[in-house]
């Protein structure tokens, strides 16, 4: 059985956000919820400043606090290492969200995709209302509805349950890459079996010194970051007093 992991090459990542957009479309992610997200940081004092961008998603930790704490096993591990969520078992206690050190679990506080129930049109006789758009394409809740998401998880999750990245388990089970990996124009995301020494993931982890988020907590996250984008040069110096 493989153990899936992802390497994110920060030198290749340009912060375009294609991963996040593809994720939203693939997984019917509601407004306000981010399965694929980012941490941005600006360091230094003007004019000596730099901008850092770290893409984030569920870390599919080996010792996942969300799985340990879930009272009903709604949050559980698959044999391939994916941390999966079963909304049918979720009682909405939100302990996984509370317990996740990475801030990647979200709760459906309201009925999702409410915007698309709206009957208002921008120009009468000229544009469609959100509800009409959904009806015209014959979709469920949103015009960009992807029914394939429903293979392993309710395609649209109801209010009162949490949701998060599943490494696109419905695609992986068919031999396809997660959609964020597929969508990345810079090949900054590399996905594969970390146990297979011939996998690109294993090779990259042997070649570069990776870091992981909040590694000191002992959760053994399976999102690894390598390299950093920094073309800056500086004149050799020993500083001064």
């Amino acid at each position: 059985m493989p153990r899936y992991a992802m390497v994110i090459d920060l030198q290749r990542c340009v912060g375009c956000g294609a991963c996040s957009i593809a994720c939203r479309n693939e997984n019917n992610v509601p407004e306000g919820i981010y399965w694929s997200n980012k941490i941005t940081e600006t360091v230094g004092t003007f004019p000596n400043v730099r901008y850092h961008y770290i893409p984030t998603l569920c870390n599919h930790c080996e010792y996942a606090p969300c799985v340990r704490g879930c009272p009903t096993k709604a949050m559980h591990k698959l044999d391939n290492g994916i941390t999966m969520h079963d909304p049918k078992k979720c009682i909405g206690c939100k302990y996984c969200e509370f317990n996740c050190p990475y801030g990647v679990i979200y709760f459906n506080w309201k009925e999702p995709h409410q915007f698309w129930k709206n009957n208002k049109v921008l120009f009468k006789g000229g544009t469609s209302s959100p509800r009409e758009e959904v009806e015209k394409v014959g979709a469920e809740k949103t015009p960009y509805f992807n029914p394939e998401r429903g293979a392993t998880l309710p395609a649209n999750r109801p209010k009162g349950v949490v949701e998060k990245c599943t490494f696109c388990d419905h695609r992986v089970s068919k031999g396809l890459l997660p959609t964020c990996v597929e969508a990345c124009p810079a090949n900054a995301r590399i996905f594969g079996d970390i146990k297979d020494p011939d996998s690109d993931v294993a090779k990259l982890l042997g070649k570069f010194r990776p870091f992981r988020l909040r590694e000191q907590l002992g959760t053994n996250p399976h999102i690894f970051y390598i390299r950093d984008f920094n073309p800056a040069q500086y004149r050799p110096t020993k500083g001064g007093i």
Binding site: G32, Y34, N37, K38, I39, T40, T56, P65, R68, G69, C70, P71, T72, K73, A74, K89, I91, G92, C93, K94, Y95, E97, F98, N99, C100, P101, Y102, G103, V104, Y106, F107, N108, W109, K110, E111, K159, G160, L213, R214, L217, G218, T219
Partner: protein, 379 residues
């Protein structure tokens, strides 16, 4: 006499209205979801959960007090035992109202029992409190039937006592194993929960007894004054332990440079902290403790009522303060959507959950006192 009957009727009408409003609130929450709360993906747990923690721990405290005559066999406190057990049941049911609405569905509360995850402190907390409720009800039924000290009845007393000891530790560990939120992490939360539970349980019993005897006007309090005074000494001791634990906690928080602990200096909201001072602790714990050190205050009914009322309000606020301080800053990428620090004030619906839980509890107290002979003791 007729004036008292009139007041009783008004009291029942007030509780009835509060419960009707509570039922409407429950319906509204079940239909519309938690969007009615002033919560978000940073402030995840709010007033309904704080109320649950407060009432559940208070119920544990009451059960532990009932254990003094029923388990430790200190017979002179037997006149308090039946009332303590009943108050523990009613308070726990109030807690279940709050957690049921926090979960947003009553069926969710039952589902938790049928899909167990034994590594989850929330599962253990739910399981232990459910079993404790059942055991307390059976124990109360046995006492009501006059069976106080048969083998079966004693076993029920011991089991409920042990469950009441473990349950607060489990509530503490729900927070204490959260590695990602350092302000909660560690065994301190479990010890703190147990002490605060015993403190609020004792406070509730003293306040309830003084109000009840004042309202009904029977002379039981005067006859049992020495016993109440002894209970007040226990109360003062528990308050003293809570003071020491709070001071240790503040010492760690104020000495730490860990960013999450600095929240305590910055955080301002409606639950007591203002300008860097924890008024909920100063007025809700330290002040009543100092008052309890004065013998005349300890012995007067007014002193008992004021100190226990201050501590009851104070412990609820302390639970809320702890609950919110650990959630006041966004974790990881959520900082992209939310400000660095988030303040919180409950929505009207969250307040109504609080009112509903209190109304259920108070209605049960009222009916129990009227029909269940709570002052009974074995001959």
């Amino acid at each position: 006499m007729s004036e008292k009957k009139g007041l009783y009727g008004i009291w029942l009408v007030v509780l009835g209205i509060a419960i009707l409003i509570g039922l409407y609130t429950a319906l509204k929450i079940f239909i519309q979801g938690h969007g009615l709360f002033n919560t978000n993906d940073v402030i995840i747990w709010s007033l309904p959960l704080g109320v649950y923690i407060f009432l559940a721990l208070t119920s544990s405290g009451l059960t532990l007090l009932a254990g003094v005559p029923l388990v430790l066999m200190v017979k002179k406190y037997e006149p308090f035992a039946k009332r303590l057990v009943f108050l523990a049941i009613a308070t726990l049911l109030g807690a279940f109202v709050a957690i049921g609405l926090e979960l947003g569905s009553v069926e969710n509360m039952f589902w938790i029992l049928f899909s167990p995850n034994f590594s989850s402190p929330i599962w253990w907390m739910g399981f232990i409190y459910s079993v404790e409720l059942l055991v307390l009800i059976v124990k109360f039924w046995r006492m009501h039937k006059g069976d106080w000290h048969s083998g079966f009845s004693n076993a029920l007393g011991v089991i409920s006592f042990l469950l009441a000891l473990i349950a607060p530790l489990m509530i503490g560990s729900v927070f204490g194993i959260t590695e990602s939120r350092v302000t909660y992490f560690g065994s301190m939360m479990s010890v703190y929960s147990l002490v605060l539970g015993l403190l609020s349980g004792t406070a509730l019993f003293l306040l309830y007894s003084t109000i009840f005897h004042r309202v009904t006007g029977n002379g039981a309090v005067e006859r049992q004054t020495p016993l109440y005074n002894e209970f007040t000494v226990i109360f003062a001791y528990v308050a003293g332990i809570a003071v020491v634990l709070s001071l240790v906690k503040f010492a760690i928080e104020s000495a730490s440079t860990v960013p999450e602990f600095l929240v305590y200096h910055k955080f301002e909201h409606a639950f007591g902290a203002w300008q860097g001072f924890h008024f909920e602790v100063l007025l809700g714990l330290f002040l009543p403790f100092v008052l309890l050190l004065i013998p005349s205050v300890r012995k007067s009914m007014g002193g008992k009522a004021v100190t226990s009322a201050l501590i009851l309000v104070g412990t609820l606020m302390m639970h809320m303060e702890i609950l919110l301080a650990g959630q006041s800053h966004p974790v990881g990428p959520k900082a992209e959507q939310y400000p660095a620090f988030i303040s919180y004030f409950p929505s009207i619906w969250e307040w109504l959950v609080f009112v509903f839980a209190l109304a259920v509890m108070l209605l049960l107290y009222t009916l129990g006192e009227r029909y269940l002979k709570l002052a009974e003791a074995p001959q």
